[in-house]
Amino acid sequence: MSTTREQTLIENCRNGETTAFGQLIKIYRKQLFSYLLKLCGNREDAEDLFQETLIKSWKGISKYSELQKFSSWLFTIAHNTAMDKLRKRNKEAMITETEPDELSHANDPHKELIGKEIRNKIQKAVDILPFKQKEVFLLRVNGEMSFKEIAQVTNEPLNTVLSHMHYSVKKIKRLLWSEND
């Protein structure tokens, strides 16, 4: 499932080559870091989680099975690490399903949105998504996971995961384009 280069790097990691580990993680560095940053909301926590993910993945690389995509395996570790930390901190506020006031951000519905503007709007919308919807959206976008994989990682039924995605996209869409369009 992984590319040849990736497979070679994984094999070298298993043989204890530390430089191979750096090269392997670098492939997913941006995706992984931005996922953690978006999920926990601040850089310091994201860096701590990133570090912990690296430690766990280096320790566990011998147990990684090629039947799974490496990125999915890596994101699963990151996701579980983040969830553990959240549980420990008991940050109820982050997990509480708060309904955002997304429509307050909506501008002229007929205005054509391009490039940077769309991205800014998506960013704002993702920030205020309820936790579960944000989690699924980020695993799809940053983790490049399939919804079946997300269901496994989050330990939720596939239909629930699809429903979270459905609502998050719906909210983002509402923010980007008027519903009346």
Binding site: F21, G22, K26, R29, Q51, I118, F147, K148, I172, K173
Partner: protein, 185 residues
């Protein structure tokens, strides 16, 4: 008819993600493929979803400095060994380091004060004093034990006193007789 169409379209809204992931059975996938071609609502919906996913990916790509990343990798792969330097100067936030240094400084100051006090204060040689007292006490103890044994022996001997006296008397008489014999000679 329109209602049926709406129902099909809202069905597609839910399945679109599996459709994009190629996680539908071939028949189902073909069905939606045909539907999207013929349905303006669903074809615009799928392109909107694709725009959101593509743009979100670009925007959510945050990064960190190479130096930071390399340091993190290094930390992740290093073997845990006991290092005296790390023990004395632990890794951590500036706040943690300051707290540790402060504790270390307090302990150092207290230890120095204790040493100075012990050096400047005149104190009797405790080892010698204890040793003499011990000897004195042990001496008294031994004497009393000897006396006790002596008394016991005396008491035992008292029981046979009469017998001893008779034997002594007999021996004295025998000696007297002997001396008499000598004097007659």
């Amino acid at each position: 008819m329109i209602n049926d169409e709406n129902m099909i379209c809202s069905e597609f809204e839910k399945e679109v993600y599996l459709y994009l992931d190629n996680d539908l059975l071939t028949d189902r996938k073909e069905y939606w493929k045909q539907h999207v071609v013929n349905c303006k609502t669903c074809s615009s919906f799928i392109s909107e979803v694709e725009i959101i996913l593509d743009q979100a990916h670009v925007e959510l790509t945050e990064d960190m400095f190479d130096a930071k990343f390399n340091a993190m990798v290094k930390k992740a792969v290093q073997k845990k060994e006991f290092k005296i330097a790390e023990w004395l100067f632990p890794q951590g936030t500036a706040k943690e380091k300051f707290a540790f240094s402060l504790k270390l400084a307090v302990v150092g100051v207290l230890a120095t004060i204790a040493i100075i006090i012990s050096l400047t204060t005149r104190q009797p040689n405790t080892v010698k004093t204890i040793s003499n007292e011990l000897l004195d006490w042990e001496g008294k103890k031994v004497t009393s034990q000897i006396n006790e044994i002596k008394n016991t022996i005396d008491m035992i001997h008292e029981d046979n006193w009469d017998r001893q006296m008779i034997l002594l008397d007999q021996r004295m008489k025998a000696l007297e007789n002997k001396s008499d014999k000598f004097s007659f000679n």
